[in-house]
């Protein structure tokens, strides 16, 4: 390699500016803003249940979230394969297209099952 590669330097520069702005904003707000607190101000505004620091059962969430996350991962992994396919499908010809369609269709079977059984409903 002939000397360091500076092609990513603007990205680094941009990230630096972003971080600096975030830090500046937090400090500026704490210095410039007026601080007059009362209990009403600290409340959740108008709507929403009071946030409770120690909810029942240690703040456990229903398993529905897990199901959604799991289904998301299944289709996320499908998209992992779509990415290299999309990059070079024009070079690979019909066989690769058939492969990919077959793969998508099979994973779509899982989707059909989940959809018909109400796994996508939130109630």
């Amino acid at each position: 390699m002939n000397g360091p590669d500076y092609s990513y330097a603007p990205l680094l520069f941009f990230a630096g500016i972003g971080a600096a702005f975030a830090v500046f904003s937090v400090f500026a707000a704490s210095i410039a803003g007026p601080k007059r607190y009362n209990r009403a101000k600290a409340d959740a505004y108008e709507c929403g249940i009071q946030p409770s620091p120690h909810a029942e059962g240690g703040g456990r969430v229903p398993i529905k979230y897990y199901l959604t996350a799991m289904l998301f991962i299944v289709f996320d992994i499908e998209s992992v394969f779509l990415y290299p396919f999309a990059v070079s499908f024009d070079r690979m010809g019909l066989f690769a297209l058939v492969e990919m369609v077959l793969f998508v269709v099979t994973v779509f079977i899982a989707y059909a099952y989940v959809w018909r059984r109400g796994g996508l409903e939130w109630d």
Binding site: P4, N38, I49, D76, E99, L102, A110, V114, R117
Partner: protein, 262 residues
């Protein structure tokens, strides 16, 4: 060995200790959330390493799938178990930890001694491996030589989806009642024909945990969900009025100042 560029080695010495720190957090943090965050940090840094080593696809997938989706799943599982719950450190089998440590060290020694004894031949090099582009090269392998593995993976994905549904999804066994269905049922039964009373509406609160007041000043029990009642999360209406009074004390009663509009 190829020489590391200046920027690359700077990045390495900056990010490598952080990734080790994340991994150690995963090992030693007592709270599952802290462990998961440590792991997320390590995973993201690994993705950065992959990208700097010109394995763009791997790096992006690392961040996309592992740091994104899998870590999200981890956090959901942690929340499922309870954010506040921490691991019990009591050994159920005596000497298990020591034995585990010894076996781990033995495995480490075996691997290190194996790798250290190895004289590696000269590497093919990234230029050849990435000759047709990093992602295209992978596509050639995934859809070429490894097509069978790729297709069989779909069986895994289906199994995962079906398994998650079987173990986590409680199927609706009777049709869901629509608003019209509920309305018909109320009229047929003649109970709460107009629906249950809505939650209370106060100056600053109209959330579902706020009970409505009846004409005599008492609370309507029907206006809040019994789940909230069971959890003890129903708001005490006294505190709402008290907070309003406190607020008025600090700002002055605007209704009074503007000449008694009441």
């Amino acid at each position: 060995m190829t020489h590391l560029g200046g920027a690359e080695s700077t990045l390495f010495w900056f990010a490598a200790p952080l990734s080790v720190l994340g991994a150690l957090t995963l090992l030693f943090a007592r709270k599952a959330v802290h462990a998961a965050m440590g792991m997320a940090m390590t995973m993201i840094l690994l993705g950065i390493f992959y990208i700097t080593e010109q394995a763009e696809f791997l790096g992006i997938i690392q961040i996309f799938v592992y740091s994104g989706a899998v870590m999200m799943l981890f956090l959901f599982v942690v929340m499922l178990v309870g954010v506040d719950s921490s691991d019990s450190l009591v050994e159920t089998i005596r000497g298990q930890r020591v034995a585990g440590l010894l076996f781990g060290l033995a495995l480490l020694a075996l691997t290190i001694s194996g790798v250290a004894r190895t004289t590696f031949p000269s590497f093919i090099g990234l230029d050849k491996a990435n000759a047709s582009g990093n992602v295209s090269g992978l596509a050639n392998l995934i859809f070429g030589k490894y097509v069978w593995s790729f297709e069989v993976t779909s069986a895994l994905l289906i199994t995962a989806a079906v398994g998650a549904m079987l173990l986590a999804h409680r199927e609706r066994l009777r049709p869901k009642l629509s608003q019209a269905d509920w309305s018909r049922r109320r009229i047929r039964e003649g109970v709460n024909v107009a629906g249950l009373p809505v939650p209370g509406v106060y100056a600053r609160h109209n959330a579902v945990d706020t009970p409505a007041l009846l004409p005599d000043g008492s609370i309507s029990e029907l206006s809040v969900s019994r789940v909230l009642k069971a959890r003890g999360q129903v708001v005490n209406t006294q505190t709402l009025t008290a907070a309003t009074e406190e607020f008025e004390e600090s700002t002055g009663d605007s209704t009074q100042e503007e000449g008694g509009q009441q």
